[in-house]
């Protein structure tokens, strides 16, 4: 039977949902599911893991995520336990684990995984525009996109916890200093019923007015995808997605957003999703309830007029 490692992820004292998603998936593969938890005084975090066993490593150096300390510890656990499959999040933390593990433990890595089975992994590449199936022989690592599997399937009543001594973590070159919580914004996009969300399709800052007018008419807040924040057209507090916020409004109007997996992760649970995008192949239409490929610069002003 396969031995499946699931690398648990936690931030600021809370277990991240990706952990449960991966535990549920591992269970469905029918293997021996071993959750790997690193922390300091964090053993209780595993109390609702649906796993056959929990390997727990306790060290002050592991209290908060540290790419170097976590990599070293997980490489040593994989080396001593030789799992057949390692599931790790394709997340900010997971990215700093998976690729290094691949080299240090000489295991193939398949990233951006949206599905995993024995010997085959499906990835979402090219901004979610292509699915790619990889065949892999022998043991492998998959880094799993958040939101790919249900969270509930990975929750259970915990499992026997085996404490493992940490490897030598002296002389680390990376030192964790502190976690900084986001500053509160002028608008809380997680608390509004309607969001008008804007992406790269808006083209330039002057055009932001077009969506702002629609948002004002609806009494909605304006949110956005990553490129808009990187261009500084809206503050970080308005960003929906992987490195932004998760939102669940009644109505989510995606204007000029293609729907890369990083964005989808933050908005797919909205009640009603409307997508306006001229690219008929944009992945956003797979998640939307209603869609149009008419030009946003025609539709949005006309819609504002009719409301």
């Amino acid at each position: 039977m396969s031995k499946i490692f699931v690398i648990a992820e936690h931030l600021n004292g809370e277990v991240e949902d990706i952990t449960y998603e991966m535990l549920g998936k591992a269970k469905s593969l029918g293997g021996d599911v071993i959750a790997v938890l690193l922390g300091s005084g964090a053993k209780d975090m595993a109390s609702d893991f649906a796993a056959d066993k929990v390997l727990y490593v306790d060290s002050p150096e592991l209290a908060n995520f540290n790419p170097e300390a976590y990599c070293k510890t997980i490489v040593s656990l994989v080396g001593s336990h030789t799992p057949n499959i390692v599931l790790v999040g394709n997340t900010s933390q997971g990215m700093d684990i998976a690729a290094g593990l691949s080299i240090d433990c000489n295991m193939p890595l398949i990233a951006y995984a949206s599905d995993v089975s024995e010997g085959s992994v499906t990835s979402q590449l090219y901004g979610g525009k292509m699915s790619v199936e990889s065949a892999v022989e022998g043991d492998f690592i998959a880094s799993v996109l958040a939101g790919s599997f249900p969270v509930d399937a990975g929750k259970g009543s915990g499992a026997a916890v085996e404490e493992v001594a940490a490897p030598d973590l002296s002389g680390l070159k990376i030192k964790f200093k502190q976690l900084i919580e986001p500053e509160g914004g002028d608008v809380d996009i997680t608390a509004t019923d309607v969001l008008v969300s804007v992406g790269r399709g808006i083209q330039n800052e002057d055009n932001m007015e077009v969506v702002q007018v629609l948002a004002d008419k609806l009494g909605a807040a304006l949110s956005c995808s990553r490129p808009i924040v990187d261009s500084k057209w809206l503050p970080k507090t308005r960003q929906v997605g992987k490195s932004g916020l998760k939102v669940k409004p009644k109505v989510y109007i995606a204007v000029g957003i293609s729907g890369a997996p990083e964005h989808i992760e933050g908005m797919k649970d909205a009640d009603c999703i409307i997508a306006i995008n001229t690219d008929a192949n944009a992945p956003i239409f797979d998640y939307a309830d209603y869609g149009t490929t008419e030009d946003l610069f025609d539709v949005v002003p006309a819609l504002t007029e009719k409301l």
């Binding site: 080299i103 193939p108 525009k129 200093k177 932004g244 009644k250 009603c272």
Partner: protein, 251 residues
Amino acid sequence: MNIIVPIKQVPDLVEELEIDSSGKDLDREWLKFKVNEFDDHALEEALLLKEDSGGTVTAIALDGDDIDKALYAAAAKGADKVVKVTGIEGNVSNHEAAKAFANAIQGMGADLVFTGVQSVEDRDGQLGVLLAHYMNVPHISVVTGVAVNGDSVNVTKEYGGGMVAEFEAATPIVLGIQAARETPRYVPVAKVRRAMRSTDLEEVSAGDVSVSAGSSVSRMFKPESGGGAEMLSGSAEDVAGKLADIIKGKI
């Protein structure tokens, strides 16, 4: 600080992507390529850091179509040195690309290596972390801020929900840049042409890159499109009318 910035060309997603006759790869014949947008951020952050704290910036790329132009553009933006890695070309795995970069960078005395945090083609993992492990140095991904602090650097790493962690790290280190402090600078074509005439493009051999991703693509397919959405037909005016009714019904 001596900062090295590896640059990678990736398919431009603005173009329609087609699958080739093997069913396992993109049809690359007509594909338009551009510099990975996160690499632009990596270069920008490197240039900003140099402007703040001094040092040199070297842009380095694997051989390939149009790569000279991308490197000259980096020079026009302010890179002090541009280097092309030869003996490796075409559609290689990130494991191979990272190994080639590691071989080429070795001996350059890098304090910092800035890569784009990810690209649209990272099937076998993100380049920066692979590179760091081949170079045997630590790494931090999803970086949104870097400041020089004596011999070390202060780095901010971004998590979900806008939470960030602050680290202090010794050099050398590889950082996967998510976003530069400023929007990557634009450089006019005339300036790139001038750089082309005045810049010495160095070449370095890729060396031994006998590593592999360890897996192979068995199938590429487009995710079902429009699977979820009911597509509204008619003119923009008609569509707006239908959308207004839908929205009014929900709020």
